[in-house]
Symmetry: C2
Subunit: 360 residues, 2 copies
């Protein structure tokens, strides 16, 4: 944490020196938009191209400038006291900043995003935590946390929760891991996760199960990333066979998202592979389907046209085109047509064994 503290102090000092010398202080941050990113499969995430936004202290920018400095001060305080604040709490704290208080939360959110980009760290490292929880874990993993009071290590054994699970905290920067698992399986729905937990699939397959519960939260993505990096574990992603599962869930987990490119570096999981329902699976497993919705088709076409990740992978282009042509989608639970535990006995073993069935 002290690296971030030093950065904040340096930045503040720099501004202070400029003011003392009667020169205009500046705050620089990278431009946050899809026009300022590229996809480099070697690094595996949307990367910034280097365009910058520079905010110079002038009469018209004085308020935002002051607010950014106060937000930096709040972050410094949080780190020093080992405390946390959600975006919403930070907004309410500002209500005591008199002239510099925010009127609406979107204003304070934007300043926090700017600051995150400016410092080139994810905001959890600044002491700011997301509003929402997300992500449950079961299986062959010991999470090493520390007691907030005594600072002593706490070992959390994720094989020992019965039908329950370990709920990922909103900030995971401080966690360490012990495991002899062979891989991480990230699952779209809580229902499917519960089935795999109930039948102790993690024991048979020697793996760690993570329930994403839809689009993975920041904490969930960062948790998988840190665990996968630290223990050199492959990550297999099991979602529905529809554009939402492919892009909103899988692509976001693997490569990040466009509007947060300055932090994808921390949140993407480059070594993720897709073992969810593919259009070919719908045919091969004769799965019950639903017709594609308008929004599915729009999402698929958008991805083909604008998504640097899809543009990079011919396999994904082929899969999407196939799906659009078939005009249907299939949920991961559709496998239940062949028996409730077909997914455990047949589908997952077949998929995991044969990398030709994966999508990149």
């Amino acid at each position: 944490m002290s690296k971030v503290l030093t950065k904040i102090k340096d930045m503040a000092n720099n501004i202070y020196q400029k003011i003392i010398k009667k020169r205009q202080p500046q705050l620089k941050s990278p431009l946050r938009s899809l026009t300022n990113v590229k996809y480099n499969p070697k690094d595996g995430f949307f990367e910034l191209l280097g365009k910058e936004k520079i905010r110079t202290l002038t009469a018209s920018s004085v308020k935002t400038f002051a607010q950014t400095l106060r937000m930096m001060a709040l972050s410094k305080e949080l780190i020093e006291k080992d405390d946390i604040a959600t975006k919403r709490e930070a907004y309410y704290v500002s209500k005591n900043w008199e002239e510099a208080r925010f009127k609406e939360q979107p204003e304070s959110d934007a300043v926090m995003d700017d600051m995150e980009a400016m410092m080139m760290v994810n905001r959890e490292q600044l002491g700011f935590i997301p509003e929402e929880k997300g992500g449950e874990v079961a299986g062959k993993l010991i999470v090493v946390d520390k007691d907030p009071d005594t600072k002593r290590e706490i070992k959390i054994d994720c094989t020992k929760f019965g039908s329950g699970a370990y709920s990922i905290p909103t900030s995971v920067e401080h966690l360490k891991f012990k495991t002899d698992a062979k891989f991480i399986l990230a699952i779209e729905t809580a229902g499917m996760f519960q089935r795999l937990v109930k039948h102790k699939y993690w024991k048979k397959a020697k793996c760690i199960l993570v329930s994403m519960g839809g689009v993975p939260t920041r904490a969930c993505r960062r948790f998988i990333r840190r665990l996968s990096d630290d223990k050199k574990l492959p990550v297999y992603v099991f979602t529905d066979g529809d554009p939402y599962g492919f892009f909103n869930i899988y692509r976001t987990l693997k490569a990040g998202s466009g509007n947060a490119a300055h932090i994808n570096e921390y949140f993407c999981v480059p070594n993720a592979r897709f073992i969810g329902i593919t259009p070919q699976d719908i045919i091969d497993y004769r799965l019950p389907t639903h017709p594609l919705k308008e929004v599915d088709i729009k999402r698929a076409k958008d991805a083909l046209k604008n998504d640097p990740f899809v543009q990079h992978y011919r396999e994904w282009q082929k899969a999407i085109k196939q799906l659009v042509q078939m005009k249907v989608r299939a949920e991961q639970q559709a496998l239940a047509k062949w028996g409730l535990n077909y997914v455990i006995d047949k589908y997952l073993p077949q998929k995991l064994k044969d990398s030709k069935l994966w999508l990149p």
Copy 2:
């Protein structure tokens, strides 16, 4: 579980006997609507008035009748095998029922609801689990679960999760509890929960913290209810000060909901008390507010007019009228105006000490 099994077998046998005797078999279930409930504060939940829906086997009802019987058979199989199925999985299983298969999931959901009402048990007891997870727990509680393989007891100590938490499984019927906590604190947002966990509030206050993450899921409600019953613990509910927090969250937790009256008995938490943000708190604590939205005002007026729970409690009527008059709402994080940990150091202790500040 065997009680439910016996019930299923009896029902099936009854139908079989009728058919053998060439008489028309019938399925009876209580009418599920707000017109068939009353609020009895002694019992504490919306109760059925006794109107029934009778489905007689005729040419036009033959398909639904058959589907209900197949659903009963599926439930029997789940219970016997100690397996589970989500609503969605049950729908897909039906794809192999030939003529009796469901076309769309809402059809199978409705049959499952009917069956739940018919049997007068919650569907978790029939082996059907909800799609969504929900609810995290930290603090002075040991959850006693059992290993799905060995059936041996597993003890899960919720004081030992560091910054993480215990994630409530989708079905909680089999759990047992050990605790010396004085009360359960159910919290609306994950952010607030994380703050209380970070500062080990549960240790100071000798309590169990539960994060509901918005409207509590069935599993979360049932968990709190079973824990509170079993250990005779009061439940305090801490939500935002707005109609959504009052009714969609608090009232649902305490008394249940109108369209599921046949199971409120299992899911309501009659000894819950409201210690969240009241309209009077907004004044007393000088909290930052947001204007009431159209939907808030509509929700408030609906509650005054139609909600048997509100009609029963003068205190709630007064509170809602006050809020509508003030035209504002306040979030639980608004307390951060007075410092991030004001909620821990001042608000919660003051509220918990003085029952005159609670709402019923």
